[in-house]
């Protein structure tokens, strides 16, 4: 019931907004925020009660939905560690995004909060769906509110941006839809259950009924949809435009959650469905990731608009994340999944902070600022802390994610680690350059002399994110532990097509063969006796 409740709550919460009158702005905001906070509270058991030693999928629910011309879709919900954490991320970000719109959204407030709540339902649905059809419905449904958010409350060029965003995304989804139907019929599946389809496909492959061409075409149809969503280079050009034009809360949700659907799609669908093609194309995709890392960083460096800079940095960060996921190593995949959460938090925070500046000055142009550290010291501290997370400084979440992703990539092929690692250097370049231009130096504009420092409401927005940055940087294990079964399943599926497992069995430190230790020699471990010269 929990997942259904989570999905329905924001949707039901949106209904009163339909009836209420437009001029009750304050009540509308409070209501929407209350709903989102409540959703967050209800989602907490997904974190606390998910038992990593239990079944892979928990909180499972299954209802009949519809059956049409042999297409049997079911309302099937369930979460593994990764989707549970992504749902909690969604419900965690949502109240922050809503509270962040308090002053930002001035017109059509009712519709705005309505869109946001519907969007929340769709996003939770994507991560909770265990039925491919249901997944697709939610996946597409998330597009509509986002389309409106950018199109109605966006900046000057918002129609161009939102059209580009929708066309890009729909293009991918259409291909995927065709592939979904193809897969369904090809398998002769009983229903759209994701696990069921995975199993059927594996059986087909084993029986030699799924030709290479079929698998590869379907792989690309799925992969394209998610690669666009991510976005993977060179399918990224919708992202900077969408981010720049979107209102702050839209950007926050877009960066924090919506992009994650792409990575999630690869984890949950693309690789498990088509392991052979995934294996074959992983190197290509990893090269694209690396190009994205380097290219995104270079682009971020050239930007004059803060939001665009952060949007390009997303391209780089998600490149790192996917580098881990495509590495097919335990460390890398865990790291990739972790990096999805990290990116949600730190990039969400960056967009929020830029939005706060925008609210004060109505510009996001970097050269408008300069030297404002002196005027808004607390804001500066917050921004620098989030920057540190973004560039992966140890003890922040960014480091844990980047380190594990790159280690995974390195273990697959050292060169992937080397070139992917360039992001570590370049990330510092563009982010610190941004900080320097905005905050340091002399105050170059008179009008900036009276900027207000971060306020109470804004502090309430940013503090939870800052807290998570350090919590996830210092104690990542509870998260890793929850994601571990899902990652192991992913690795198992990704290698299912091979006759014998090639990778070494998962090792733990404790499981290493240890000789029975007789009487210890009283000698320090560093002072190793040098007996090499003896015969």
């Amino acid at each position: 019931m929990l997942l259904t409740a989570l999905i329905l709550l924001p949707l039901l919460g949106a209904i009163p907004l339909l009836i209420v009158r437009d001029n009750n702005a304050r009540e509308i905001k409070v209501w929407a925020i209350m709903i989102s906070v409540l959703t967050f509270l209800i989602s907490l058991p997904l974190y606390f009660n998910y038992d990593p030693d239990g079944e892979l999928f928990q909180f499972v629910e299954l209802y009949r939905w519809f059956s049409l011309q042999g297409l049997r879709a079911r309302f099937s919900l369930g979460v593994d560690g990764i989707s549970a954490l992504l749902i909690v991320l969604t419900t965690f970000i949502m109240p922050i995004a809503l509270l962040g719109s308090w002053n930002y959204i001035k017109d059509r407030q009712k519709e705005f909060y309505l869109c946001m709540l519907v969007l929340e339902t769709a996003m939770i649905g994507v991560f909770a769906a265990q039925d491919l059809f249901l997944f697709f419905v939610f996946f597409e449904a998330s597009l509509i509110p986002m389309y409106l958010l950018i199109g109605i409350w966006g900046g000057d060029n918002c129609i161009y941006a939102t059209t580009k965003f929708v066309l890009y995304t729909v293009f991918g989804s259409l291909l995927m839809f065709v592939a979904i139907l193809f897969v369904y019929h090809k398998c002769g599946a009983a229903h759209f259950g994701i696990a069921h389809l995975t199993e059927q496909l594996a059986q087909l492959r084993e029986a030699g009924m799924l030709s290479r061409a079929e698998e590869f075409w379907c792989f690309w149809a799925f992969a394209l949809a998610f690669a666009i969503k991510l976005p993977l280079w060179p399918l990224h050009t919708w992202l900077p435009d969408a981010h720049v034009e979107a209102p702050t809360p839209g950007s926050v949700v877009l960066a924090a959650v919506l992009l994650k659907m792409g990575g999630y799609g690869f984890l949950r669908l693309v690789v498990p469905f088509f392991p052979m093609a995934s294996e074959a194309y992983a190197p290509l995709l990893m090269v694209l990731c690396i190009v994205g890392i380097i290219y995104g960083s270079l682009m971020a460096f050239t930007q004059k608009d803060m939001k665009k800079l952060i949007a390009y940095s997303s391209v780089a960060h998600l490149g790192t994340c996917m580098l881990g996921i495509f590495s097919f190593t335990a460390v890398g995949v865990q790291g990739g999944a972790y990096q999805m959460l990290n990116h949600g938090i730190s990039t969400g925070a960056l967009f929020l902070l830029v939005g706060m500046l925008y609210e004060r000055t109505h510009t996001r142009m970097i050269d408008y600022y300069g030297g404002i550290a002196k005027i808004v010291p607390v804001f500066t501290v917050c921004f620098v802390l989030v920057t540190l997370s973004s560039i992966g400084l140890p003890l922040t979440n960014g480091f844990v994610g980047e380190f594990t992703c790159l280690m995974g990539a390195f273990q697959r092929n050292p060169w992937f680690g080397v070139f992917g690692g360039l992001g570590v250097v370049l990330g510092a370049v563009y982010m610190l350059y941004l900080v320097k231009r905005v905050f340091f130096g002399k105050v170059i504009r008179q009008s900036n002399e009276h900027l207000a420092d971060i306020g109470g409401r804004e502090m309430a927005l940013i503090l939870p994110l800052l807290a998570m940055i350090f919590v996830m940087g210092i104690a990542p294990n509870p998260f890793f532990r929850r994601m571990q079964p899902a990652v192991e399943e992913y690795l198992r599926l990704s290698k299912a097509h091979k006759p014998a497992p090639v990778a070494p069995a998962p090792r733990t430190v404790a499981a290493r063969p240890a000789p029975a230790a007789p009487v210890p020699v009283p000698q320090d471990a560093t002072e190793l006796p040098d007996v090499g010269n003896e015969p």
């Binding site: 540190l388 594990t404 273990q411 680690g417 570590v424 210890p520 471990a525 040098d530």
Partner: protein
Amino acid sequence: MDGLQFLVSWLPEWLREPGRFYAFYAETLYLIPLLPFAGFLINAFGRKSISRGASGAVATLAAFGAFFWAFLSFCATLGPADTGPSGSEVEFPARALHAIYADWISVGGFSCSFGFYLDQLSGVMTLVITGVGTLIHLYSMGYMAHDKAFARYFCYLNLFLFSMLLLVLGDNLVLLFVGWEGVGLCSYLLIGFWYEDAAKAAAGMKAFIFNRVGDLGFLLGIFVLVAVFGTVNFVSTPVKVGTRNYPSEPNRVERAEADEGEAAPGQMQVILPDHPGLLNYAHAVRVLSGGKGLSANLPLDYDAAKTGRGNLNLSDKLGSSVFPNGTVGFALALACLLLFVGACGKSAQLPLYAWLPDAMAGPTPVSALIHAATMVTAGVYMVARLSSLFAFSETVLSVIAIVGGLTAIFAALCGLTQTDIKKVLAYSTVSQLGYMFLAAGVGAFGLAIFHVVTHAFFKALLFLGAGSVIHGMSEEQDLRKMGGLRHKMPITFWTMLIGSAALAGVPFTAGWYSKDQILGALLARYEHDHQTVFLILYVLALVGAFCTAFYTFRLMGLAFFGTSRASEETQHHIHESPPVMTVPLVILAIFSAIGGVWFGSGVNLPEFLGLPEPSFDLHHGHTLNLILAGVAAFGGIGLALLLYVQQGKQPKPETEQGPLYRLSKERFYVERFYDRVVCGGFALFAEVLHLLVDVILIDTLLVYGAGGLVRWIAGLMRKLQSGVVNAYAAGILIGALVVLYKLLHG
């Protein structure tokens, strides 16, 4: 004495005999970094509510507390053996404290934890860091007294100490890396401390980015080691006896019995302890590959159990799949080279040195603490920490020696002509770091650390002295505008003179003890196998020593002798610094003067550290070197005194100088090359790429192109929508017929 004895007996036992409380000190190691961290928190969150004096005092006390606890812990490693918990028959040598507090990252077979390890090496480093750190905190209270952001300064300074202590105390490479990046962050923050000056903020950024280049190498080095050995810990995890931590036993080396496995009788076999660390592996590989391990051609999937030679097993690690056909020797050399790239960044070696001179934009005590005494020596510490790994590959050691030697001479040449008092010292630091790596490069890791220690004393002293001069001269840093200060600032003068003597290598000063031995080691290295490269390096190092002596006393001559060249206004204000600043100077001067005797002859620090020794006799050819080094030092000092004290020479305007002078003054145009070519090229490349790929290729050609294609097709289709009803009717009819046909025959 009775009174004293009474006092001592009144002290709690853990204070009187730390060695007997081995496990207690092991478990409280975390106090050492946590005290400065607490100071950081107090200053960060309470700076609005506590007074300026209080925030300085809190920070200084935190630093001193760390020093105090580090001292006790260090004593605990020296004391008599702890007999372990009652009932245990095991005797534990109190040589190292090791405790693991919590798991940090454990994912997919990889794990690292928060654990601290204090042995002779990290103990000495900790004492230097906290000791010199405390003095510099104290000094800063005077130096920064008039600064608006007093609390912020101490906040950063304490955070730096915390990070630095994490770096040296961390029991694994990743924790070391945490400190490594942490000190980089603090360096960034403190260089750009006066951020309103855009140039200073830029200098901070430059430092961070240069360091990041090195850090990438460091990370990759970690990845290689993880792939090969599956661990990042230095030593095996401590054994828990009850709730107490005792170090796990080291490797055991035994002769195989005749009937054991397939091993020939008498063959060496190595038994690793549980959860072996990198140093255990290094030792095992060295034993098993025979000799000094310089040709470690073990395959990466080696399994000693198969040959009955102990339990070293690499086949369950990923090494062989990451590096197909690689050998352990290859992987280790690769890892060490990559780690050394990291060291080059942090310790400002060629070609990543260029950030350090710019780092002088920070407050002078920061330059003393971070950019001279502690942080920049982190690279040397890391190499020493992993010296058993580095000692494997002659090639890597040669690379280190060459980079160190080139840096030493290069920076010394740059230092000859600088006119900014801090820049002279900055290049000197780069140069001295080069000497440390020279020592490491010939395999004398102990000597490298010895030089780290003495250098910390005299270079911190010189920087603090320079700070005192700058303070007295109303923020003037240009040597050309100083002169004649020795009468007005006597304490500063005399202490700096001692520091200069130590830097120049005047016999029996701290610097002489360490540097002379490094030069001697180079010569011995050459005589060991007559490789020309080491002879060249020795000559370069000698020339560098001459330059060092020269620029040091040039600085002294220009600042303290002759007549004052400052403006009337400035001259009027010149004053000796307050005691809070001069006391640290005096203490450091004492250490610079006698520290060498104490640590060099008394304790014999290089041997005390217990680091791997080179295979040749380090002291071979010592007399020849003694003479040559003495000639270099006194030659440099004499020439400088002659020119700048006797003749009262002053630097001419740059336009009147010869090309060689300008080459040195402009640092051989390396930094300009970085600024113009590398930075400019990077920015230009990014801009061009943005325009070409994002704007033109993807958006215009592909996206709009696709849109245009759709529009074109739509244009064709539009012709169908002609509005002619007859055409529609015909269409409907044809469609209906097709459907009908399908239904009837399909």
